[in-house]
Symmetry: C2
Subunit: 126 residues, 2 copies
DNA sequence: CTGCCAGTTCAAGCCGGCTTGAGGTCAATA
DNA sequence: TATTGACCTCAAGCCGGCTTGAACTGGCAG
């Protein structure tokens, strides 16, 4: 993890150094766990701001269970969308129709997407 | 869909107008289907550039089945990651441990994330 | 014929999450 | 002691996918 990221996180209030030696920041050993927690939040789709609210002023994790449930539900919805997309893609990849637009199944997927039932997620990770 | 989006897509080579009346662009009726296809691609996590390559110069969809399979696999991987995250979140929301960091399950998740097994996706859609 | 307003152009801005560049500091090594 | 190179600050840049602003044109209703 680049030092620039640590500085950025500090600036955003996600972490704090416990002092300086010369100009250099000194971090408490526990910072590593903290960073892991931040990474966890990011992986769960939380913004840095949301993550920041999960740390009490004293620095201890203060986790809002309702928020976690809400996030879990959100992820669930994403999973359903993605599952539909994946099935659609696989079908499209195998569909024998000469032109995809002639395949009823493909048409159905296209219509579903157009209706907004399925929306673009942030770019999927590689 | 805002007109600005159409102009942007035109600029990116995803759509083309069939003429002008005065300064105003005229689009063929089929443009709607085309836009639906673009939305479908976006929903599948394709970039506009990737989508552009899926249209042959003649404007007909030219779909690369291998690419679709690859995208489907990619989505599958995302689904697995998200599923793990969701389970982790739900657990965290219900875990009775006084501090989450004391819960072995939570620790395991944190470690897995730290190891890079789980990475931040683009922001999940609402 | 005139005025309105939806269209047009081009350049610039926005979002989040960092990264990068220029120019400066200083603890540790040889 | 001199050098090194990893850190420092601050501001600006990047990415994709659009949106927005200022300044304009021109088809159509009245």
């Amino acid at each position: 993890m680049p030092a620039s990221t640590l500085r950025y996180y500090e600036e955003r209030g996600l972490i704090a150094s416990i002092g300086r030696r010369g100009m250099r920041r000194i971090f408490a050993p526990g910072i590593v766990e903290r960073l892991a927690l931040i990474a966890l939040g990011r992986a769960a789709g939380l913004s840095l701001d949301e993550i920041a609210t999960m740390f009490a002023p004293d620095g201890l994790p203060r986790i809002d269970r309702a928020m976690l449930h809400a996030k879990a539900d959100e992820i669930d919805a994403s999973i359903r969308r993605l599952t539909a997309m994946r099935d659609g893609l696989r079908h499209a990849a195998e569909c024998p129709a000469p032109s995809h637009m002639e395949c009823p199944k493909f048409q159905r997927i296209v219509r579903a997407t157009a209706k907004g039932a399925i929306r673009a997620p942030g770019r999927a990770p590689a």
